[in-house]
Amino acid sequence: MTAQANPLRRLRERGRDNAAFYAVLVIGAALWLFPLVSTVRQSVQFGGFHNYLTVLTTDYNGVNLLRAFANSLLIAALTVVLTCGIGALAGYAFAKIDFVGREGLYHACLLLLAVPAVAIMVPVYWITGNLGLFNSPVGVSLPEVVLTLPFAVLLLRNNADSIPDELIEAARIDGASHLVVFRHIFLPLSRPALINLAALCVVWSIQDFIFSSMLLTNASSTTAAQAVQSIQGAFSPTPIEHSQYFAALMLLAVPAIVIVVLGLRFITQGMTAGGVKE
């Protein structure tokens, strides 16, 4: 990128400013990476890098880390599919069908944006039990989807505002049903937003601790976020196992780090694409 292409570059045109900018970034990055570095250091303090191999190949409290990653990803996949599917349908209805009570319903939906998982923990436990979904990825995924849906609807409706109504009206006059318009116009044009939504769903789903820890009690269905806590008891308070615990913590972060590094483009691009009103 050339200097002139980016006007912000002017902020650090003077040598002193330039140095200050870099100093803040370098010191900042060092501070931000400090937890990572200190965890790695503690994980190899006793037993060295071999700890990582030990941790990967041992079952802690019946929990195998690789299995936990797989469980997290399965739940995340379910959450993505359900949230994007249900969210897109609802987003279409809110954005492109002019029906009685639309605004009321839409705003009621937005009121649920800040509902915390903890506050519906009691009924979710009861509901999941009665649906027979304890220890099932679906049982965890459904409440995650429900908590993400208000946001999904907001995102997809806002995005749909950039789809010209004329386009849809023209198709409708040509005799296209809502389903056809949804499939052939709405979905393709919502793709960037859906990708953004999917990326965020993955991030949020693998972060979920409450539902997975409450609804998954089988060792074999434990998720990565839950494993942070449930494997703790399996490490004896000896120096080497203490280090191994840190190695386990490090490994639990790996899938998230991979997803962030690979998916960052989608997260930011999606946001940028959604934010520009052309």
Partner: protein, 455 residues
């Protein structure tokens, strides 16, 4: 063309989604919340083996594994699948799992803290006593059996206790003590303070006294101090015979606060978890360790060797007396209850394991030498070969005697009052953020607020 391709992709995605959901849903349990009805028993054909799911938090996996190996060897048709949790985690996980109808066959029950939160999901012992020897009750320490039954709100026996524990005690690293010129276990807080000063002087890198900063541990230490004034004081507080703002209570709070304000116990240690404190002691970075008798394994040199604990010799004693005119105390209770959940489909086999663990010499000899409990089996004594040094021998003797003396009930009154109000405010007392008088008044007003009915 494009549209068709898109439609195809859409249908493909939808199909995949449905398939994914169906597969995933198939792993679920069958419905209901509560888990309070008896599961039908699975029939086991001859030669077929049965796997029992065993959940517990205690004793440590290394200890239990020896028992399980011995049991499986003696009973070739039964496999035990053990899952072990941390203490605090287990109190959350077990009720959730049992309420969710998880199929478990044997569960460890914290007699004092958990009996009532899971009893609706457990089969009373009378339901499966027919699978035990007919005289089983006479083989178990009657006090411990009685305590296990009395704790249940419906006065029913739900588990058979493996033994009894008490707290708080002090374990000591003999090598560090010798280096600092300390020759005997401290018996008063003044002696402990002097010892701490010596250790600080000779070993600046060592934590003089390590202990868990977890909130539940604070009331253990506090009540031990309180019971030094009167061995039944903590019982009387919980039964309402003594007010929380009574003079004895203020005296106890003051003594407890002094332990910290004098620097004998460091408030910095309060950020440690139990495992961290044990770790510090086990790796030779702490001279004393305040712990419950469940940590007596460290007295066994065989256990230390098997678990990579580098400390050469460990001694033990009661919590030094911190009040003038007081006497040594410890709160004790039956512990390590073994129970069979209603969800178990293998009651007979589970009973067999419990019998092995609590009623057979062979079973006891697998876990009791690790000293985690004073065993409940009448007539069982820990082989003398376990304790190899004079310090460990006299330490274990002190602990066993103090437990036998039977002070107040440890954690017998585990109400949310203890966890919500008492534990949190004890931390404030320890840090001198509140005076003993103000604290006593606060406790009494919370006690009387109606929020915490006696269980």
């Amino acid at each position: 063309m494009r549209k068709e391709a898109q439609l195809g992709r859409l249908l493909g995605t939808a199909g995949a989604a449905v398939a994914l959901i169906l597969t995933a849903a198939a792993c679920g349990n069958s419905g209901g919340v509560g888990g309070s009805s008896n599961a039908a028993q699975a029939s086991v054909a001859a030669g077929q083996s049965v796997t029992l799911n065993y959940w517990t938090w205690f004793p440590a996996q290394t200890t239990l594994q020896k028992s399980i190996d011995a049991f499986e060897k003696a009973n070739p048709g039964i496999k035990i699948n053990l899952r072990e949790f941390t203490n605090t985690n287990y109190q959350t996980e077990l009720p959730l799992a049992l309420g969710g109808g998880q199929s478990l066959d044997i569960v460890g029950v914290q007699v004092s803290a958990m009996t009532n939160s899971v009893r609706k999901n457990l089969r009373p012992v009378s339901d499966w006593a027919s699978d035990l020897p007919s005289n089983w009750q006479s083989q178990i320490n009657s006090t411990m059996l009685d305590q296990t039954q009395k704790i249940a709100q419906d006065d029913t026996l739900y588990s058979i206790p493996m033994g009894s524990i008490g707290s708080a005690f002090v374990y000591s690293n003999q090598a560090l003590l010798a280096k600092a010129g300390i020759t005997a276990e401290p018996t008063t807080s003044a002696e402990l303070a002097a010892d701490v000063a010596k250790i600080k002087a000779t070993e600046p890198g060592v934590t003089p006294v390590a202990f868990s900063g977890e909130s539940w541990w604070q009331d253990e230490v506090f009540f031990t101090v309180a019971d030094q004034i009167d061995p039944k004081l903590s019982d009387e507080l919980y039964t309402g015979k003594v007010a929380w703002n009574s003079p004895q209570m203020v005296k106890a709070l003051t003594a407890y606060q002094n332990l910290f304000s004098s620097g004998t116990l460091g408030t910095g240690t309060l950020s440690l978890k139990e495992a961290d404190a044990d770790n510090a002691f086990n790796s030779g970075k702490a001279a004393f360790l305040l712990e419950g008798s469940w940590d007596s394994s460290v007295l066994s040199s065989a256990y230390r060797q098997a678990n990579g604990i580098s400390v050469a010799d460990v001694g033990a004693g009661y919590l030094p007396v911190s009040v003038a005119g007081g006497s040594p105390a410890a709160r004790t209770y039956a512990e390590g209850g073994l129970a069979i959940p209603k969800s178990s489909q293998h009651v007979a086999q589970a009973a067999k394991f419990i019998q092995f663990m609590t009623l057979s010499q062979q079973g006891e000899s697998t876990w009791a030498p690790d000293l985690v409990l004073v065993p409940s089996l009448n007539g069982y004594t820990v082989p003398s070969s376990v304790l190899t040094s004079p310090a460990a021998q006299s330490g274990y003797q002190t602990i066993a005697q103090t437990i036998d003396a039977g002070g107040s009930g440890r954690g017998e009154y585990s109400t949310t009052f203890t966890s919500d109000v008492l534990d949190n405010s004890l931390l404030q007392v320890a840090r001198s953020q509140i005076t003993p008088q103000a604290e006593a008044a606060k406790l009494q007003s919370a006690w009387a607020s109606g929020r915490y009915p006696l269980q």
